[in-house]
């Protein structure tokens, strides 16, 4: 019996396997940020132990940072304190920090890949559920809690039970105006926000193979939104071409050796998955969510489910969700007024996302009553956008290009959507209050968000493509 890609990577990282115990899994790369790490460093201090392998942890500040005037001190005292604690902790324990002001600073799941820190075959963890993003490179990457951050700092290992394996295949040709964000929103809408809980997902099929690395990252990023422990895609020529020459990627003979290993990283033809799902790319239209979990999504031309389409015992939660959103069952979303547009987050803030949006909005103007925030994922993305003149296109359209950070994805920093406002967002979560107390979120692709920015309403991007 062959092995799955996930099994190959996981099994080769098990340091100790003991009956009745979770596996002690060695971690190649550990990313940390300011929110979920301070208590872990405190734990080390209480135990009087150092970081075991400080070179294998990389830090950045992203959740709490403002996305305007980053050259000035953070205004909000608690946010400032948390970011300062990260500086203090990384300095004291000898961990590299790409903090505010550093040319590599950015969202942790954007900078790891773009710097070539994230590589195929690695085990990668971070105190952040969207660590699954790094799986796009054929790495086993997953989010962890702060106690687990402390485990990794202390021992470079983590105790985990091995998840089950799921394969999700998407074959066929994507329709025009359909992006990888639509693929993953579609999958989650089909299998629900808990449909992959307990599983590690491998995405496969020609529709996945044809995607760029940026697009693959968007898919793997949202694996957690269907409950999966993580998601990964076998590395291929697209992966290797993306990595070659990146700052921390192997060079020379190291590259050749690494490449030889990476080329063994695929699921064997006779590998056994615990669950296999298949979808046809041609069935996917641009997607949008209407509710308060990422599984509550529909095709852009669809309608919100009518009450009778929802199982009776799920109706109270469904009603609660629509009450929060101020939306009616059975109604379409096309034409729904939008107040804010947020293009950013670890899901969709890479240069390719910004290029797509810029290509579409060039020569167009945003609707007068819509606020549009474009938040690049990193200083490098920001610099690249400026080098390509994308910043001018946004400025001409009335879009605001801000500085890198998690921004309005999670309402932890200054960027919050006001109460009762509708925001179409390229981020990953539409939970109640996620973008600000009583803010209402529609998740969508960068193109669908950009279309809404121009019209001020939920719009089918394909109507611009006749």
């Amino acid at each position: 019996m062959g092995k799955t890609l996930f099994d190959k990577i996981w099994d080769s990282h098990v340091v100790v396997k003991k009956a009745g115990h979770p596996d002690a899994v060695y971690i190649n790369t550990h990313f940390i940020h300011e929110v979920t790490s301070p208590q872990a460093f405190d734990g080390l201090r209480k135990r009087g132990i150092p970081v075991f392998r400080p070179g294998k942890t990389k830090a950045t500040a992203d959740h709490n940072v403002p996305t305007l005037h980053q050259d000035q001190p953070i205004k909000e005292a608690l946010s400032r304190h948390q970011v300062e604690m990260l500086t203090k902790n990384t300095s004291e324990f000898g961990v590299d920090l790409y903090g505010l002001g550093h040319r590599y600073q950015g969202i942790v799941h954007v900078i790891g890949p773009e710097l070539g820190i994230t590589l195929p075959g690695m085990t990668i963890v971070c105190g952040d559920s969207h660590t699954s993003t790094h799986g796009a490179f054929g790495a086993v990457a997953f989010g962890i809690g702060t106690s687990e951050v402390e485990q990794v700092l202390a021992t470079q290992c983590i105790l985990q039970y091995k998840p089950k394996r799921m394969k999700i295949e998407i074959n066929g040709q994507l329709g025009k105006g359909v992006l990888s964000k639509d693929i993953i929103l579609y999958i989650i809408s089909k299998i629900s926000a808990s449909g992959a809980t307990g599983y590690f997902v491998e995405y496969a099929g020609d529709a996945i193979r044809n995607l760029s690395m940026e697009a693959r990252m968007t898919i793997c990023n949202m694996s957690i939104e269907m409950g999966a422990r993580g998601g990964l895609i076998a590395p291929d020529e697209t992966t290797f071409a993306y990595l070659k020459g990146r700052e921390f990627a192997p060079k020379g003979t190291d590259w050749d050796n690494a490449l030889a290993y990476w080329q063994t990283l695929y699921s064997d033809a006779d590998a056994d998955f615990d669950s296999v799902l298949s979808f046809d790319a041609a069935d996917i239209e641009p997607q949008i969510t209407y509710g308060t979990n990422p599984g509550m999504g529909i095709g852009i031309t669809g309608h919100i489910p009518a009450l009778e389409e929802i199982e009776e015992k799920e109706r109270p939660s469904f009603r609660k969700s629509l009450d929060y959103m101020h939306l009616q069952p059975g109604k379409p979303l096309l034409g729904q007024k939008v107040d804010y547009v947020f293009i950013g987050s670890c899901t969709n803030s890479r240069i390719e996302d910004l290029r797509l949006v810029a290509d579409f909005v060039k020569g167009k103007q945003k609707a007068s009553d819509v606020v549009v925030w474009i938040v690049p994922g990193s200083k490098q993305v920001e610099a690249q956008a400026k080098a390509e003149g994308i910043d001018k296109i946004f400025a001409d359209a009335g879009f605001q290009l801000r500085e890198p950070g998690c921004s309005a994805c999670l309402a932890m920093n200054e960027d919050k959507v006001p109460a009762d406002m509708y925001c179409i967002s390229t981020s990953n979560r539409n939970f109640e209050g996620r973008q600000g107390p009583n803010a209402r979120t529609f998740l969508a692709s960068p193109l669908t968000a950009a279309a809404a920015a121009i019209t001020g309403k939920v719009t089918d991007i394909r109507s611009f493509m006749q």
Partner: protein, 199 residues
């Protein structure tokens, strides 16, 4: 935080909502502390308080009839963000047990790492718990970790639950994962010598 869990008899606080995500348990704007304490006051913050901090009378934690050390919630509890602050908030608010018919993976780990016992029961048994509390808000429940059961005392109904043996031992004895991992140091160093590259 008590590091040992063996047995508990308590009434329960019901939150019969499905897919309760960790942003509801503790919104991101309250994650700025650098210690593990004090999160309990913001547990379910936006369901519990108006924007001006007045308690919302229709939320169960603001109803004096409902109290206890067991939180009972709808299926897929703890989905979303990996923030351990969710587990800290639940512990800080005095809960030792969370009962649901389904838990998100990361939350389950975070709960166990904070000596909170997540008990997964069937949808039917969860419904019976909610009904027992509906009939009598002071209904009491017995939870026993050694024998792995939860008992609705008033009705005599009992359900067994699963927990992995390692975590059970940790909870019964107050051991944590880092103690165990630190004991593997020689194995870890040995493992490192077997890996040719940084993968």
């Amino acid at each position: 935080m008590s590091k040992i869990f063996k047995h508990l008899v308590s009434s329960a606080v019901p939150v019969p909502i499905e897919n309760i995500d960790t942003d509801q348990i503790i919104p991101a704007r309250f994650l700025k502390a650098t210690t593990r304490e004090g999160f309990g006051q913001n547990l379910f913050r936006d369901w519990r308080y108006e924007a001006d901090n007045t308690p919302k009378s229709d939320f169960v934690m603001n109803n004096p009839l409902y109290k206890g050390r067991i939180l009972v919630a709808g299926k897929n509890f703890g989905c979303g963000s990996s923030r351990e602050h969710a587990a800290w908030a639940i512990a800080d608010a005095g809960f030792k047990v969370v009962v649901s018919s389904f838990f998100a993976d990361i939350f389950r780990n975070n709960a166990l790492n904070n000596f909170i016992l997540p008990i997964q029961v069937t949808d039917e048994f969860l419904d019976k718990i909610f009904k027992a509390i509906e009939a009598n808000p002071a209904a009491t429940f017995e939870v026993d970790l050694e024998d792995q059961f939860i008992h609705i005392i008033g009705t005599g109904l009992k359900a067994n639950f699963d927990i992995n043996q390692y975590k059970k031992t940790c909870l019964l004895n107050g051991y944590d994962d880092i103690d165990y991992l630190l004991s593997l140091r020689t194995n870890i160093e040995q493992y490192e010598t077997t890996r040719p590259y940084n993968f």
